[in-house]
Symmetry: C2
Subunit: 410 residues, 2 copies
């Protein structure tokens, strides 16, 4: 199948923006391994955020230059590296002229909801970095590569939790006897999620006005650390975040279970979301590359494979953990977010499967891609990072945050 | 009625952001004249844009310091002036602490669709200035004046031209047997209109997460120059834009008619929009001030009084012009925008009228507030400014724009 064909990508030149990140790194290697000509664009700001906040990946990730060198050694394939910021149009223009992409996969955004809610500066950074970076990218495509297919990562969180079924991007509405198919109404629940709503809204316009080819992937929560390529050598290993800012629920629960800390369920635990294995993320991007949108068309797919409530996640991990000698426990902690803890949730996700995606199941993945690797690196866990973090209603100016911190100390 | 009561505003302290602009100046005087304690916040960037592009108001507007001094002389009322940028949080914080507003009316955004489509830099400026300014404002309210009512100017252009009725902000959807009331789907048609979509999407979240009081006014195209207060003295006169970037269709048509230039209808002229008289704008803001939203509630009103197609506008002006000895003509010019030229349009606008708005009619306003004033200042018209301007599909990087300009010269 195309998923394994080493020549699948022949003739495609794919720019992976955010290629030093969790999804981007795995995707770059997946595509490179299948004959796509790949380059990575990244300003490494994510590594800087980890440093600033005192976080670290559970797995010992290498620098991007070393990673790429090692990949060449292991696979014989080149990945060209462009270190710079997509918000810097001069850099981005030069990169486009040099690499001449046929597709640009855009992972390069600030992607943590709690980070965007820490304080005003980070809220503004998140929306500026994400929205303006994406505008720049659309201008660069228009100016230097008008046929280039923009594959943009969105999030299922753009939809919020409406009381009706979540469709894939568009909703056909009958109203007062007339009908139209409109962009699905968006209700982001953090400055991060909102930045993705803005990206999508901007893309709908540019796709039409500039006759671009675009695909918007509303991705669910990604879990797991192992993909075929990132496990080929320890120097290729992918990141695994478990802090309260960048760690997503499932990764965090697994690490908590592994070190004998109770899994911290926020509130009632009825919050339901879509999830997918990192091995499905890389395959979805390949599918998007191989099925470019027409000029003036914006395809929107919901990129997740299964949906679970937080309580269901905890139950799955408890079951899997017991099989390998762990004894996972649950505690319910006050919810730092403003969100519904019990709600209807039914999101559609058939489009990518119609195009060939064969989903991994979480119940299997927990064992072969997650818990075992975590146990391997368990001595690296910094226990101070596994408690809940940022509070949605407290999000304040930097000055106020510092004042509060003073009071706590005093 | 409240519309005329000189003590209507007692106890209210209203911050007018963008108070040196077209809508903001008229609103500041209207409220000041009715007993509201008013301050103006403005960074005067709009005057700078006019200077850069070689534009000027038809009417000879005075500097903001002189305007405010004259108002004190004419009315005996003080308007405090804060010159600075809402994107500068240090300035905004100090202003909030000093003035302690009970309401903040936010007009202070880059508000021209063509300006936002001129080049990439102006697209990014528009979305940064507008979206980040509005985020700052919400943080300032949260931090310094949590009871303050945010009255935010949006635009009817956020809705685009859907094939169903346009409701006031929310749409009740029945889908697969379930029902929810959701934010009305937005389809902005320029980086400017999109910035307003983003503002609204951000506001919905902050209103809920931070229990703010907010009102979003989706305003139609404003026309006219005369309000009671701005006509009290020549030094108080309001701006009247007629260039192809900041001038809106109606104002431009009137000026074209007055100087004997045919009215430049873009494309087929079937484009239909909502309109209102500047005298209704100021009254709508007063109504919003007097009817604050509850904590955690976001009110959304469609702020326009009549809807017309471009061809209908031209016909109205032809009729009015003939009565005062003009002979207005029409030419259809190629449409520089990407937009539908024939479409369904039926937008609701009952909420503000239910709260007491008594609309002026365009057919009357053309005579008493627009054509006569234009004729008075007609010698100031710069004829080079009345042709169509910015092209939507050409919007490029600054470098590309300069290159094109070179080619035209060569
Ligand atoms: N991880 C998930 O569960 C998940 C879920 C839904 C959507 N997504 C989306 O997928 C994308 C990738 O997520 P991830 O988990 O790999 O995040 P990540 O933080 O691991 O990677 C993002 C990368 O982008 C880079 N980057 C950020 N801003 C940049 C800029 N202005 N210029 C250049 N590079 C920049 C960072 O340095 C980082 O390497 C994001 O857009 C995210 O919103 C992720
Ligand atoms: N005029 C219309 O027809 C119309 C229609 C719909 C909506 N609106 C909205 O109403 C508002 C006012 O429009 P207008 O026609 O009076 O525009 P305007 O350009 O005349 O006034 C806007 C004012 O805001 C100021 N400003 C802009 N950015 C600022 C910043 N960052 N900090 C401080 N001040 C800033 C400008 O200097 C200017 O004085 C805008 O938000 C606009 O989008 C206007």
């Amino acid at each position: 199948s195309k998923a394994d064909d080493p020549d699948a990508g022949k003739g495609q030149r794919v720019m992976i923006i955010g290629g030093d990140g969790y999804c981007g790194w795995a995707t770059a290697l997946h595509l490179s391994n299948r004959g796509y000509e790949v380059c990575i664009v990244d300003n490494l700001c994510r590594r800087g955020m980890d440093d600033s906040l005192g976080f670290n990946s559970l797995t010992p990730i290498r620098g991007i230059h070393e990673r790429v060198r090692k990949w060449k050694e292991v696979s014989g394939k080149d990945i060209e590296l462009f270190i710079g910021d997509v918000c810097d149009y001069e850099f981005l223009s030069a990169t486009f002229k040099k690499f001449e992409p046929t597709a640009a996969v855009h992972f390069g955004e600030q992607r943590s909801a709690p980070y965007s809610m820490m304080d005003r500066t980070k809220a503004v950074f998140t929306q500026t970095n994400n929205v303006m970076g994406n505008i720049n990218l659309m201008y660069a495509i228009k100016e230097f590569a008008p046929d280039c297919h923009l594959i943009k990562l969105g999030t299922m969180g753009e939809y919020g939790t409406p009381n009706i079924d979540i469709e894939e991007g568009y909703l056909t509405v009958e109203h007062n006897g007339r009908t139209d198919t409109l962009p699905y109404p968006k209700q982001g629940n953090s400055f991060y999620h909102l930045s993705k709503c803005h990206d999508s809204t901007n893309m709908i316009f540019c796709t039409k006005a500039w006759q671009m080819r675009t695909t918007d992937l509303n991705q669910g929560v990604v879990y797991g650390v192992a993909t075929e390529e990132t496990m080929m050598d320890p120097a290729l290993i992918n990141r695994l975040d478990y802090d309260a800012v960048f760690g997503t629920a499932l990764n965090r629960f697994c690490i908590q279970a592994a070190v004998g800390h109770p899994m911290t369920v926020y509130g009632k635990g009825g919050q339901t979301r879509g999830f997918l294995d990192i091995r499905d993320t890389v395959r979805c991007i390949q599918i998007a590359c191989d099925n470019p949108a027409d000029k003036g068309e914006m395809r929107i797919y919901n990129q997740f494979t299964e949906q679970f409530s937080v309580n269901e996640l905890a139950a799955l991990i408890t079951e899997a953990g017991k099989k390998i000698g762990l004894d996972p426990q649950v505690i319910n902690v006050p919810n730092p977010r403003t969100e519904m803890e019990e709600h209807y949730y039914n999101a559609k996700n058939s489009k990518l499967q119609d195009l060939g995606l064969e989903p991994h199941l979480m119940s299997d993945a927990l064992m072969d891609s997650l818990l075992k690797i975590i146990i391997e690196y368990k001595d690296r866990v910094d226990k101070s990072l596994i408690l809940p973090g940022v509070n949605w209603t407290e999000s304040a100016s930097v000055g106020q945050q510092l004042e509060k911190a003073e009071k706590v100390k005093a």
